[in-house]
Amino acid sequence: MDKFLNSVHLDPDKCKGCINCIKRCPTGAIRVRNGKAVITKEKCIDCGECIRICQNHAKMPTYDPLSAMNDYKYKIALPAPSLYGQFNNLEDSNIVLTALKLMGFDDVYEVGAAAEIVSEMSRKYVMEHKEQWPIVSTACPSVVKLIRVRFPNLIDHLLPIQAPVELAASLARKKAMEETGLPSEDIGIFFISPCPAKVSACKNPFGIDKCDVDAVLAVKDVYPRLLSFMKVAALEPEDLSHAGRIGVGWGSSGGEAGGLLSDIYLAADGIENVIRVLEDLEDQKFTNLEFIELNACSGGCVGGVLNVENPYVAKAKLKKLRKYMPVAGSHMRHEDMALWTRKVEYEPVFKLGENMAESIRLMSRVDEIAKKFPGIDCGSCGAPSCRALAEDIVRGVASESDCIHILREYIHKITGEMSMLDKRNNGEEGEGK
């Protein structure tokens, strides 16, 4: 599997080649080439910023269609905690879970339930690994991807525990095989996701070899279908819920850290804020922190681009729903920790040359070329900044005349020369007469 798999694609018919997405991308992964936005997938961290900013809806998240449900005999829904935040006046998560069954799923397994088990494991891990403090959460795949390409010194701080959805998927599959006697291939595990980054993470996971999720459905696709079943489900909701206040809390920023039952943590959300925290962490500006929770989306998972509700409204709804829930409904039953079995490796995708000497030479050229540009970062060349264009030129994928200011000067110069030639010719003709 391609280790740089990403979950954003372009509808070229809708892309007008404007510069909104290239400017917004936190890793500078997008360029406009021949009038269309192109993503360098090695640099893409699946944060969804370009999807949010694109007014033409040309940037689209990749996920599986609802029809994927037809491919399996026995279907299990794995709702993300943030799903509950999409509904008005929801007082009992069992209503949503019952509606999922009415919609066609044979069983449900809440990601929030697995999250509570992950919280317990994390509590144990954090206490036993003081040398790794502050330990950085790994539930948000965009954050892990960002650290992997930009913060090599922080890889050792990553919490090496499976994300809740990964644990939920393997527990759900095990349970279904035991209960139904069906072979694994007949069982379909469907994650109902707020976020396209989880699509890449399920297809090509970090830290583990294979994820048990078979398909990732979008909250925004499932939500309208669920709405039609909510009234019936509310009449007689089945008792299906195993997630308590901690598990549902994972749906918004601060929830994962809160599950550690410690006060010595920091929780940051929104990709720009996350980057600032990582920069400061790299410079060792934090001491005495045990844990750092980072979410690429503002508000946490409720801010994912596959949701329907405003993130902060969803967060308020989750808070209300959680109020009367038990602290936790699920506990670590097995002594086995769902630890990572593979290490995350640094991927130096931003390097200029193959070795340091070559990179230094290329960097000197970048500096030289960048001086020629006006430095206003207008984006008309298709690169997010003058410096980025200079880098592209050095990498051999752009040219100086892509800068409209340089092009304009050049046109001024040649029109000046042409008019001089013109005058001279006219003058010569005049003399001849």
């Binding site: 930009r150 090599p152 010194n153 920069e279 790299e282 410079d283 060792q284 500006k285 640094y346 130096p348 931003f350 390097k351 200029l352 040359g353 193959e354 070795n355 340091m356 000497a357 990179s359 230094i360 030479r361 960097m363 000197s364 050229r365 500096d367």
Partner: protein, 142 residues
């Protein structure tokens, strides 16, 4: 073209919120230049400490960073008051930072000790009333 690149930063400011801009830029560039992550970490920490020191004690100054495949050299030059007693200044926890600086969480007296700790070689030249120049080197393993 030579295998050396020189970066110059003017940190003439008394604005704490901007301290660290130079070291962030160096960090980003070093990562683009295949410098090993451990060396990047050392340079970033040592330079940030130096940058903060210049802002606290000398109203800023000029930082020159020279990068070649064997070594990263940081020269931090200021026209501040100078250091009266280097041995004392090198003691962990010894600080002459004013209260307003301490209130911001700086001035713990770890600046010079950390600069020494995270660089492979450090030299301080100082003259009272004239200024201080600190030269730090981080060597790159071949």
């Amino acid at each position: 073209m030579s295998d050396t690149i020189t970066l110059k930063y003017d940190v003439s400011t008394d604005d704490f919120t901007r301290a660290g801009e130079a070291s962030s830029d160096v960090k980003r560039k070093l990562k683009n230049m295949n410098v090993n992550p451990e060396a990047v970490r050392k340079v970033a920490i040592a330079m940030y400490e130096g940058e903060i020191n210049m802002v606290i004690h000398a109203n800023g100054g000029v930082i020159t960073v020279t990068i070649d495949p064997d070594c990263i050299t940081m020269i931090l030059a200021d026209k501040g008051p100078g250091i009266p007693d280097i041995a004392k200044a090198m003691q962990a926890g010894y600080s002459t930072a004013p209260d307003n600086v301490r209130d911001l969480g700086f001035g713990a007296g770890m600046g010079l000790p950390n600069m020494k700790k995270y660089s492979d070689d450090m030299k301080i030249e100082t003259e009272l009333g004239v200024g201080t120049t600190v030269t730090m080197k981080v060597f790159l393993a071949a």
